[in-house]
């Protein structure tokens, strides 16, 4: 503030224009406020989880027990569920998102680009609880009646895959959660990829077409190498979304406190266990503290993923 006042020069100017330093001060204070907001967010989750961290120590991270009756809590089951569903969702989402972005930038006729692009963006705007309901009432029945029995039969007798695709086909579980997450992150990744692909200078692409490259060859040899880093950034952005998604997952994950190798089994993610168990966690209880500790872990994971995503995307794209 004082510096800003000094910069306005003479005392006459200062008296006649008090607006400038005040406005600059408010703007700067708002900026600092955002920093404080983030700081207190981290701090409050950490302090809230302190009781659980103190009680269980490092074993909180690796313990697979979640036993509200005996007040023993561990994070491993929900961390496993969070990572499994998110990674599986990304594996499914990236090729689809790439296809959509490729279509929108290279294949679609000009009149089609905007409406289809807007449709993809609208898919990203649908509230997550709607994905949850849609997943629960539409995807789950399809999964339990058709997809899961078929997959179980197909992979029966094949090592590893046999264990991954096993269990009673209830329709809910890690695999269904991953599918719903896939549908949710595809529009995010596709929109980012499209924006990134559009930053490739047309001259590069035109030169490649000029020497006779096919559309796919231009994509593979020009566009992807040029945008590689940002594409990874866009994928990380999708991962960040998937990790913290709550409502959509809560509907279809099945809510169970055990780790299973089979993907059709029920599970939990950090976000879903917090949403589901919070109402039964009185203020000040060890259970609530454990949930806050889980929140802290989720924050750390998402912060790292989002920080990487931003670092990779920022140079190419003002994201």
């Amino acid at each position: 503030m004082q510096q800003a006042v000094a910069l306005t020069g003479s005392s006459v100017a200062r008296r006649s224009r008090p607006g400038d330093p005040i406005f600059a001060g408010i703007a700067r204070a708002s900026g600092v406020f955002v920093l404080l907001l983030m700081g207190s967010l981290i701090l409050s989750l950490f302090i809230g989880g302190l009781q659980a961290f103190r009680r269980f120590g490092a074993s909180f991270l690796v313990s697979t027990t979640w036993d509200p009756v005996h007040e023993v809590f561990g994070a491993a089951v929900s961390v496993y569920g969070t990572v499994t569903t998110s990674v599986l969702a990304l594996i499914l989402a990236v090729p689809i998102a790439f296809g959509i972005a490729f279509f929108l930038t290279e294949l679609a006729p000009a009149w089609m680009r905007r409406p289809v692009g807007v449709a993809v963006e609208l898919l990203a705007a649908v509230p997550s609880i709607i994905y949850g309901m849609w997943g629960f009432f539409v995807i789950v029945p399809i999964m339990s009646q058709y997809v899961e029995p078929t997959l179980i039969d197909t992979f029966d007798g094949i090592p590893v895959l046999e264990d991954m695709f096993a269990g009673p086909p209830f329709g809910t579980g890690l695999f269904t959660a991953a599918l719903v997450l896939t549908v949710m992150v595809v529009p995010f990744i596709a929109a980012t990829m499209r924006d990134v692909f559009e930053t490739v200078p047309p001259v590069f692409k035109e030169s490649a077409y000029g020497v006779g490259c096919t559309t796919w060859e231009v994509m593979r040899s020009i566009v992807i190498p040029y945008t590689r880093v940002s594409v990874v950034g866009g994928i990380m952005l999708g991962l960040g979304r998937a990790l913290g998604e709550t409502m959509a997952v809560t509907f279809v994950i099945g809510n169970s406190d055990h780790i299973t190798a089979n993907l059709f089994g029920s599970g939990n993610t950090i976000a879903s266990i917090v949403a589901l168990e919070f109402p039964e966690s009185p203020a000040g209880s060890l259970k609530l503290s454990s949930l806050l500790a889980l929140g802290f872990i989720l924050f750390v994971i998402s912060f790292i993923v989002l920080a990487i995503s931003r670092t990779l995307l920022r140079p190419r794209l003002k994201v």
Partner: protein, 297 residues
């Protein structure tokens, strides 16, 4: 291939027509296959959007009636509506926007006009970007810690705070981007007339960037109107009529969550109606935001 290799020269279209044809066929086949897959991916995306909208209309429209808007939520089997949830969502969304927008606007102004590339501005920009994609459930937990637990109860105001925190980074992003797009000539003209910097920003820059800023605010409204997770721990939901910000307050997404998981057919039906309302409301605001932005172009 091997035939042309023995000739001692590089195999290529000019040397060997057979190689040329095989290579060309393969290249174009790959190209066609990839193109087909990409079109399939896009069709899949559109089908999914269609499926979601169709499901909502099919399940939701059946229960759509005037009672939904005139009656409050009631026990199962007694012809309840969603009035308190709709009003609660309107109040909390409006309050969240009103609290969050000015802060976001000032932060965006700071980043574009004052901080620019200073270390502080870079830190603020980074944190705001992370906050933009941070899991909303964590914002709910945070507000629970600062505004629910210390004051001894869930409240509408806590819900508003949580939503305001989500609004801030969205408005920051669009405001900064839009302010940076303004031509220097516009600023120089105003400064040349002797206007102080804050007047240049408020009267000239904001006006020039208005469409973009409004778009940002509309997108923020669309985002928070459908948020569920942060409200679970803050405004909690309320099955009775209440517009007091000190009391737990109902909202459409939380009511949908409670009803959709229930065992009562009429509650599930109301959940679909609520889902239909919130989705089409959110999508309409999104489309409006796009129209505002393209108006100036």
């Amino acid at each position: 291939m091997s035939a042309s290799m023995t000739s001692g020269s590089v195999p290529g279209p000019a040397k060997d027509l057979k190689v040329a044809r095989a290579l060309g066929t393969r290249r174009h086949l790959t190209n066609t296959v990839v193109k087909a897959l990409c079109i399939a991916a896009t069709v899949l995306g559109l089908v999914l959007l269609g499926s979601i909208l169709f499901t909502l209309i099919w399940r939701g429209a059946a229960g759509l009636s005037l009672t939904v808007f005139t009656h409050t939520t009631k026990p199962p089997g007694s012809n309840g509506g969603l009035l308190n949830a709709i009003v609660g969502t309107l109040i909390q969304t409006a309050a969240g926007t009103v609290i969050g927008t000015p802060i976001g606007l000032m932060v965006g102004t700071y980043l574009a006009e004052y901080g620019r590339n200073s270390p502080l501005a870079n830190a603020v920009r980074f944190v705001s970007d992370v906050l933009l994609s941070a899991p909303s459930i964590l914002i709910g937990l945070f507000v629970y810690e600062i505004a629910v637990e210390p004051f001894g109860g869930f409240s509408g105001i806590a819900g508003c705070i949580a939503l305001a925190i989500i609004v801030i980074p969205i408005v920051v992003r669009t405001t900064e981007d839009m302010l940076r797009l303004i031509t220097p000539a516009l600023r120089e003209a105003a400064i040349g007339l002797g206007a102080p910097k804050w007047k240049v920003i408020v009267l000239i820059c904001y006006r020039a960037a208005m469409d973009g800023i409004v778009t940002g605010v509309l997108l923020a409204i669309a985002r928070i109107a459908g948020e569920t997770a942060p409200l679970l721990f803050t405004s909690l939901g309320n099955l009775n009529w209440s517009v007091s910000l000190k009391q737990p307050m109902a909202s459409l997404p939380v009511t949908i969550y409670q009803y959709a998981g229930s065992a009562f057919d009429d509650w599930v039906q109301l959940a679909w109606v609520g889902a239909l309302l919130i989705t089409f409301g959110v999508l309409a605001i999104n489309i409006a935001a796009r129209l505002v932005l393209s108006r100036g172009k």
